[in-house]
Amino acid sequence: MQLPRDQERKQLAARTLVVGPITLIVAISGFLLLKNNPMSQILTTLFAILWGTFTVLALFYTMNLIVQLFPIQKYNKIIPFVFVGPAILIIGWYLLIPTVRSLVLSFMNRSSTSFAGLANYKYIFTDATMRTAFGNTVLWLLFGTAFSVFFGLLTALMAERSAIEKLGKTLVFLPMAISMVGAGVIWKFMYAYKPLGANQTGLLNAIMVGLGGNPQNWLGSAPMNNFFLIVIFVWLQTGFSLVVLSAALKGVSDEIKEAARIDGAKEFTILMRIVLPSIYGSIVTVSTTIMLAALKSFDIVYSMTNGLYGTEVLASQQYKQMFKFLDYGRGSAIAVVILLAVSPVIYYNLKEFNKREVF
């Protein structure tokens, strides 16, 4: 870009003087209109989409015009902030402010009217239900993640050598399309309990009774019921891990494997020494992503047992404290603990992302 000549700069200034105020008027009046909310839902939505898109474009255009009034060196320095700045501001608004607010609330009493010191943290680390929730969350983390990754890897390896690769993968991947609550409803029928003598509507108990056993209340007794819930999570997540790992497996060079075979390596050795190390990055990414999902797992517990029979997890406790018991202090404190627990995983994940460019 050439340094604008005097005439061009004058033109630019004039354009800015016209476009700037119009943009402002459109932005502000649209905002006021939406705030008053006088239209029907469909009209509001259409208007918001049109106005929003237009205003954002116009804002960027105006900002660019203004910055163009500066000399080129300064323009080059300022312009990245103009384009990235709003995004950062909005993300800050959506993510940073709520995080800080949660942190503050976690040190305040239930109605956030006075400071409570560490009382909320003391509660979440000493209360019996909270201890159960911590224990169960660890179970979810360990077994939910391990089984999902293991079965994903297993099916990916098997699919590679199978004639029905596409069909098999599709079947394993299908549950991914089901929401967690939906899965909960489906699996309620799997685990349903009816007393002996009544019609068994649950699949598992129908099999039990069919084989001459007694029907079991699968979700009724800890700690096994946690595993019955984790099974649902694994059923949902295996598909994700399968797809990512399968793609990674395709990337392992055939020549190296061929070379190993010629050197007399057995298939298992090839798997352990060549294939797995080559897809290590993908395994880490899949594991950490599933770990995050397990840490946040709330929907399954909420829809299946609502935390009864010792199946409470951190996220379900957070929801209950916050929205059922209206204890903002305790709810926020649990949220902060979950955030702290997630942070190292996210940090590690990001580091791996940068290093390996997995996707």
């Binding site: 009046s29 239209m39 009209l43 009544a198 009724g220 029979y309 018991f325």
Partner: protein, 426 residues
């Protein structure tokens, strides 16, 4: 420059269009002012019946009241109230939530004319339940009474069983049923995210019958600890039933996994194996259709017998109270409409609801069963509101529910009550 002027023209046109939209919007707003948004927890059949009531109001006044029910009502109403976008009227199941909203100033006190309607049409207990700090906020409409035992009339009478009047007679009846190869009770605690409330109702009934209403009130207000010996004693009476596999259909496990609405259905299996289900008046809507069609001939009901003669047979009940969030035109009118029998009669005729109104015409109830229950409710010497709805949510919608589930699941009664006591917010 040509491009620029084109762009400016576009903006100008857009502004003009927007003006038009705006003008139309304000026009719509004045029309919409006739709309009264009512929000509550009940859905399906009950909501359809309430819609009928609303229709009467709309036709009479020209307003456009609309009811919407949500299964997540208790969470949503809170979020809406805090976000400043509440409905105009909400039906709150728990007096505790009303207190919270009144304290924060989210809901508006009723106007003197509505209050005088309440004074004229309700027993004082209902006004007290709808009041906070001396101001009336809530109007009760449809309520329920819970201390009733339902039985399959034909099979019950064919076996020669008599309705028990005392706890000892009830015990004798239970043993007689077992001796005859039947099962006395069908009990279901399951209720989605509210699993356990059926158990809390049982314990509340037992408390009223063993300790009396005054101790019950102290228990509700936490003037005695939750694990007071009086409560332990009441729970003991329930344990004799819940934990005896001979007395309960499917045993304790089935209590936990069986839905409260489904738990009345085994009573009407042929041949009859199960004979009793303790539940509120609303349970009739869960009975098989062919039973509902023939309610008076098929179904019998008696109050849960008294345990200690001194306390008789108190009635336990509950109900949604309607509160005002926005004082816009028509809202207070709707509230005073709810206090009239005109707003209840259509529902009473279809069935499935009781009304506490003093000015009601019992003849309007569609069947003799509900007529008798309504009389029992209005004339009860002792009526108490569902304790779990009066206790703080941590207990009433939390540890009390889970506690009853744990008790049936085999945990020691005293330990259960102590853990509930520990969860009481201080």
């Amino acid at each position: 420059m040509k491009k620029l002027s084109k762009g400016m023209l576009f903006v100008l046109v857009l502004l003009l269009v927007m003006q038009g939209v705006w003008a139309q919007g304000t026009k719509e707003a004045t029309v919409q002012d006739k709309t009264i948004r009512i929000f509550g927890a009940f859905r399906g059949e009950e909501a359809a019946r309430f819609d009928e009531i609303i229709r009467v109001f709309n036709e009479k006044t020209g307003y456009n009241a609309v009811y919407e029910g949500s299964p997540e009502f208790e969470t949503q109403i809170l979020v809406q109230a805090e976000a400043g976008t509440p409905p105009d009227i909400a039906a709150l199941p728990q007096p505790g939530i009303m207190h919270k909203f009144a304290e924060k100033g989210y809901i508006k006190p009723l106007t003197p004319s509505v209050v005088s309607m309440i004074d004229a049409n309700y027993a004082p207990v209902w006004k007290d339940l709808g009041s906070f700090n001396g101001k009336a906020y809530g109007v009760f409409h449809r309520v329920n009474a819970k201390s009733f035992v339902w039985y399959p009339k034909k099979a019950f009478e064919a076996k020669g069983y008599k309705v028990p009047k005392t706890w000892n007679e009830l015990k004798a009846l239970q043993d007689q049923i077992v001796k005859d190869g039947g099962i006395p009770w069908s009990i279901g605690f399951e209720s989605g995210n509210a699993t356990g409330w059926v158990g809390t109702d049982w314990l509340e009934d037992a408390m009223l019958r063993t300790a009396g209403p005054e101790v019950y009130d102290k228990w509700v207000n936490h003037e005695i600890p939750f694990d007071d010996p009086a409560v332990q004693r009441a729970l003991g009476y329930l344990g004799e039933i819940f934990l005896n596999p001979k007395y309960v259909y499917g045993g304790a496990t089935n209590i936990l996994t069986s839905n409260f609405g489904d738990s009345v259905k085994p009573l009407f299996d042929t041949p009859t194996k199960v004979f009793m289900n303790r539940q509120g008046n609303f349970i009739t809507t869960f009975m098989p259709q062919k039973i509902q069609d023939n309610l008076e001939a098929e179904v019998g009901v008696f109050p849960l017998p008294s345990i200690d003669e001194k306390w008789g047979t108190p009635i336990l009940g509950g109900g949604d109270q309607f509160v005002v969030f926005n004082d816009k035109p028509g809202v207070q009118e709707f509230m005073s409409f709810l206090t009239t029998w005109e707003a209840c009669a259509p529902w009473a005729q279809v069935g499935g609801a009781l009304f506490p109104h003093k000015n009601q015409n019992f003849a309007d109830y569609g069947n003799s069963i509900e007529r008798e229950l309504a009389k029992a409710l209005v004339n009860a010497t002792v009526f108490r509101f569902d304790a779990s709805d009066l206790m703080p949510a941590e207990v009433g919608a939390g540890s009390f529910w889970t506690g009853m589930v744990d008790y049936v699941n085999g945990k020691d009664g005293k330990a259960v009550l102590t853990s509930i006591e520990k969860s009481w917010p201080r």
